[in-house]
Symmetry: D3
Subunit: 236 residues, 6 copies
């Protein structure tokens, strides 16, 4: 689903940049003779890389930040000169977002709260009519100013910056999302159906890694910590 | 402004494909493992070619139709295998749009009414939830089912097909559009300011070509014919 | 050798599509104004990915199917929008091959029989003059209708579908194949020459993995199972 | 039809390079670790440029020669660094073809005999097993050693060099060729059907340019000169 | 020779950016995690477009300015999103060069003095250690601060900005330049040798356009005006 | 720093090819109608792959050699047909460098001496005015003819071949290099500052791997062997 959210984030961001939605009234791609928008993507994981493909494909100026040098090198290998890879740290994030038209927050740490990388003060100094899309909002979000919204009322404006923070972004394109989800999960479902929960969990590490709660106990450490609950390893 | 409208058409089309807007609920780009949407662009002029760049850049399946083989060859030269160029005729248009998720109508003939290339019957047989964006709507439109809409209420649905037919599409991104328009027109404005209307019209063929009305007479033949008015060549 | 076979498969497939060979009489790349052929590649391993590079490079429409989402994401990363990645399952295979002009079967499981992914019934419903190239034919093939052929008599036709199933495809381009094979194997040959069989096998895991028979015993489990023979781990 | 012939020329050339057809036994694209074939295209017109797209798309080393610097600059613009453009002259042609694995002759001058750019002596010094495809063979050919062949018996070998010189190359892919031909000619046919020969010829310059014979007279100068016949301008 | 100068300008500019030459000590391409240099090219003619290909190919951020919208659209068509095209005017030039690391001046008007597009004041406000390469210097240059230099002593520094203004840039790569020059001029030389000056000038418009002086008179208007001399049309 | 050195190597190599520096006087990229230079890169590690990106981006002919087939396949995947990957062995190295205009030596084995892959005799037979850049020179170099030079006096000529062997190449672009180095090392510095040497070394494998000397003992085996000193594993 990270792929769906990542690709969709550019599409909804482009839409938020339209004047009627409170945005700067600019076209993501620019036209010949007029510069394109500047897109800043924080996090080069699956969601961020997919956002990167779409934004660069459209013709925007794209910067992508991450703390993992190997990942940045891979993104550079596949995208060549069409995007700028930047080491993620406080100074670089600040420098980039103050010049951005569209900022995508795509830092997702499985099961854990997303770190707050962009402060309220930075947002205050962003350009009027710029746009934030926070893919990580259902895990707390990467921005101090983001809070979950819904497809019915997807955006709000703080200090002139449009915030799009729909908690279930892939729900906008249910057909694509359903196929994507089924692709990822069908093999697990079949394993459980064939072998039962206990056996399949024992034999399939990836499946066990995804177990959140078992017999009333939280069995995923990150989840337990996020909610201040007790963690207990699952025993079959 | 054709560049703005062309590039914007894919962005608004993507948006119309979202489920909440009546579309098929699919993501234009697809994701790995799930096929992208099929985009059909009728007309490979400036608007159509710009739509083509954006749609192919996002990763959609793109077909572009035109009646001019030289133009199709140029589009193929610059886009390589990433789009399919198809000779435009009744049979090919029909075959393409029945499989399309998004159809862009971009046939603009300066000053003249756009030809009706897509019949009401064809639209009736299109896929449920597919989308039509008619860039030529302010010249009558290329579809029998299109009629002008506004940014406040941009779409309507006929036979399950979402129609986006905003007459002034570039108005959605006023900042980009203003720069683009200024780029194209500033040199004309300067010429008129420097030399006056008569001299500048006499010395500058392109400027004279754009003269619609002069001293109460319609001086552009295509406009006169479209409105059933008398045409008279401008005399300075 | 999988690279050679994969790249060659598109070349021979293009040739089979010529009318005189029983094919549909279409050009893989299309021309401007005429759509290219649709190529479906089953399996995104080394052979399939190489086929993918050539087919997309020529300008064909390419779909590639695999059961491994990570591999599909990698193919999408490097090929961008120029190919469609699709999760491999019975329904998707059927949908794709019924619209295909050229189908490449490239599912190779080292030492084991290739799974029969395409049934006789699906082949019966394929387009007249479409083409199947089965790279996995020397391991039984991925199609119920394939059986090994030779370079002298490389194709046969079933239900109007041209089958190319040469068991030793790389033999068509012996100069390239010899270099490729030497590149992959020379270091193993040198290790055996330097250290003798026993020592080199002990020190070099990859080498030992390739041992099929040792002192009269089948020492590769997949081979033993395929032929119904006893398996015994090699002891040095 | 030049597009079809150009694109097809690489496909048949690849095939001629297979060992069983007398070629060098190399794969046009190479594989990782083994260099690809060297393709030399003489003539950067429509046929040559299309050959160029396919050969470069497959991954071969491509040089393309022409006497027109503007055309070479355009080819470089669209192909970037993936092909080498070279000014066509005797010395450059010789240097290139002596290192070539596949030479495409695509110099077509409408109605006139193709110039003999490659001498018998140059062919004698080409690599054993290299391949010549002469697209211009039905106008005499660009090589001293080429003479028309047929689809039934498409090649012959001189001094170890495989010659493919089918006079009607597009006939190999009749479906694609028919569509391509119809795309180019349908508008002319409709004009003649609507207005009759005389009126349509008078009103349509392109149509008149294509008139070869009228009322028993050769009305195209180049054709008349090629066949040593009298030329007479058509009068309607 | 404009192609040579254009492509070379990026190479020498990269070199001037090295710290020991007075530049900012940055690598044109950047590396993964560190942003590339910003290159601004003024003029999208042959020299500018070639500079653009090299700079974008290396992976720099490239903006290219021109006053011709059709040319900008062509550059965008072939370069896609990898460069930013900007309408050239005083405001845009100023905005761009103040953020530039490397500025290429490539505005060449045949025979006439290059317009001074960049003022001394703008140069004063450029970044310390940034670089200017003025391809048009032998026609007066596009910058108020440029004056011709030589290969022996190619650069000087004004207000911390490195200026490279070698009047005969292609002389740095004589082998490439000689071939390029011969490609462009050989056909003219042959025409003069075959037909004599007068006949060849009469029959060949392009040749006559290049005539600067004939029988002691300046026969090219732009040259005459630049040097304040009398102009006289050549009579044969 | 390997990325910086790799990318810089092409830039300095291009410069050495200028006539005034003793080079062949050719432009790396060529121009339309004139072939580009041939660049041979020995080693497809990080430095070599980065050199490859720049050289191919400029439009040179690029061959890259390595002994690791998986690495070559990856380079081919990301570079497609724009570079030639070749298995590294004595014969292939010799064949390639004798035709090269620019050779980049980028074989770096952490801590160990670079192997001498190019003999003095091979260099003697290289083209007059060709260029060698040895990135590995501070570890002894990959060429028998290379010895360390400095930024003040970066090149020397042997047998007509220009040698660029600056031991500290990244020093040419200190700004980029400092950022790149900080990106790679800051996390280690923070770990040491937070936890002290002993704890951080114990908890962080990568950090311990980088420990060269501890309490007067050489703790990295490769370094010890290179200098003929005793090796002792670090104990905390």
């Amino acid at each position: 689903m990270s792929e769906v959210a990542g690709r969709l984030s550019i599409q909804v961001g482009a839409q938020c940049l339209e004047a009627k939605n409170g945005g700067r009234g600019i076209l993501l791609s620019g036209v010949s003779g007029v510069a394109p928008a500047k897109v800043v993507i924080i996090g080069a994981g699956i969601a961020g890389t997919n956002a990167c493909h779409v934004a660069a494909g459209i013709g925007a100026h794209v910067s992508i930040l991450d703390i993992n040098p190997t990942r940045l090198a891979y993104v550079r290998d596949i995208m060549k000169g069409s995007v700028t890879t930047i080491m993620s740290n406080h100074a670089n994030i600040e420098e980039e977002i103050l010049r951005a038209d569209l900022v995508i927050g795509s830092v997702l740490i499985p099961g854990a709260k997303a770190p707050k990388l962009v402060t309220r003060d930075m947002v205050r100094r962003m350009k009027q009519g710029s746009v934030i899309v926070d893919i990580a909002v259902d895990q707390g979000g990467s921005f101090e100013t983001t809070r979950p919204t819904t497809h019915d009322n997807p955006t709000y404006i703080i200090n002139g910056v449009v915030h799009y923070c729909v908690a279930n972004m892939p729900g906008a394109v249910p057909r694509t999302s359903t196929y994507a989800l089924t692709n990822s999960t069908l093999s697990y479902a079949l394993a459980i159906a064939d072998q039962g929960v206990e056996v399949s969990m024992t034999q399939n590490k990836a499946l066990k890694k995804g177990l959140n709660i078992y017999k009333g106990k939280v069995t995923l450490r990150a989840v337990a910590e996020s909610f201040g609950m007790d963690y207990e390893e699952a025993q079959f």
